[in-house]
């Protein structure tokens, strides 16, 4: 089997999709950092007392409160950024995960012997060549199946003649079938 030849039917994952994902990720992380800035700004921008001693004590005491302030602000940032990134991941990656899930269902159906329909993804879904390759395989199998059945039916037509000719034609058809199936390995 040769290396990936998916470029023949177009890219598996479009460049526009990747750039869109990176852009949304950039906006998402920038938003998270912006929120962190706003929290820290409001925590640190309280005016210092006017007198010398007041400023000194305020700055010394700020060191004590700095850790909880930072902890809360970083926690808020992490929760917001994680939440929005997770939502973004689910929203963006479903264009790959959805078709994969659908293909898995179809492969399970195929294995169980149920009628297999041709696969089509939505226009904006990624990995479209996968559906084309699967349809090509199933199409070839169906074409071969029809040809094998036609060969057998053709042999059966000779059964209107005598028994010997019928049997000979059937055996000839079976040999043809066996030869034809040899391409599957």
């Amino acid at each position: 089997m040769s290396g990936p030849k998916s470029a023949v039917d177009g890219p598996l994952i479009q460049r526009r999709y990747v750039f869109g994902l990176l852009l949304r990720l950039c906006i998402n992380f920038a938003g998270g950092v912006g929120i962190l800035f706003v929290i820290l700004y409001f925590a640190l921008s309280r005016p210092l007392p006017g007198d010398y001693a007041g400023v000194f004590h305020a700055l010394r005491n700020l060191s004590l409160f700095l850790q909880p302030i930072l902890a809360v602000s970083v926690l808020a940032y992490a929760l917001l950024a994680c939440g929005s990134t997770s939502a973004l991941c689910v929203y963006i990656l479903h264009k790959v995960a959805g078709p994969l899930y659908r293909m898995e269902l179809i492969l399970d159906q195929y294995r169980s012997g149920a009628t297999t329909q041709t696969v089509s993804f939505r226009n904006d879904d990624q990995i479209q060549p996968l559906a084309h390759a699967f349809n090509l395989w199933i199409g070839t199998l169906r074409h071969d199946r029809q040809r094998w059945l036609a060969t057998m039916k053709d042999a059966e037509r000779h059964c209107l003649q005598d028994e010997g000719t019928c049997r000979a034609k059937m055996e000839e058809a079976l040999r043809k079938l066996e030869k034809d199936m040899a391409r599957y390995h």
Partner: protein, 184 residues
């Protein structure tokens, strides 16, 4: 009665596949959490030093503590953004590369199947959802190969002769039935 336009049935595609999206979400969350933790550690240390230094300087030309750390905070926030975004971008490119490789192999294997090669393994990445998907394709291909080989051996056995006409007819019909079951 009004004739309603017939709705075109769309293929049902689920939006959430935890096996595929879950690890990606966790990886992004880990990047954000790590970035936040590093930011916290660095900013805490730097701010402690700066505020201590500012308090003992004895000259206070600022209105709020924000004025003292404005540049430092901006630098660290920029560092946090760049670090998290670059790590996230690398992760995105990694996911895309793994998906391209794994699905590319699956596409190749399906194309090879159309040419009759049902035995060469797909060879997609052995881990994760893509690897499992490659296993499913291989399973479907080997199932088909087993059916075809069974039909082929039965055809060879029937063609070799020495079977009574009644038994031949029965096995012939069974063979047709088996062929009909390929890619129904």
């Amino acid at each position: 009665m009004r004739n309603r336009p017939r709705l075109r049935l769309r293929p049902r595609i689920r939006y959430v596949s935890p096996r595929f999206q879950g690890p990606a979400v966790l990886a992004f969350a880990a990047i954000v959490a790590t970035g936040g933790a590093i930011f916290w550690k660095l900013v805490d240390g730097a701010f402690q030093r700066v505020f201590l230094h500012a308090s003992i300087r004895g000259h206070y030309p600022f209105d709020s503590s924000y004025d003292i750390v404005r540049d430092l905070l901006a630098r660290h926030l920029a560092g946090l953004f760049v670090g998290v975004f670059l790590s996230g971008s690398v992760l995105v490119l990694l996911i895309v590369a793994v998906t391209r490789f794994g699905i590319g192999k699956a596409v190749d294997s399906l194309r090879a199947s159309a040419e009759g090669d049902l035995s060469t393994p797909t060879g997609s990445t052995p881990v994760g959802e893509i690897g499992r998907f490659g296993g499913k394709i291989d399973s479907a291909r080997s199932h088909t190969l087993a059916s075809v080989l069974k039909i082929r051996s039965e055809a060879a056995a029937l063609a070799s002769g020495g079977i009574s006409p009644e038994e031949f007819r029965l096995r012939w019909d069974e063979l047709k039935h088996r062929i009909r079951r390929i890619a129904p």
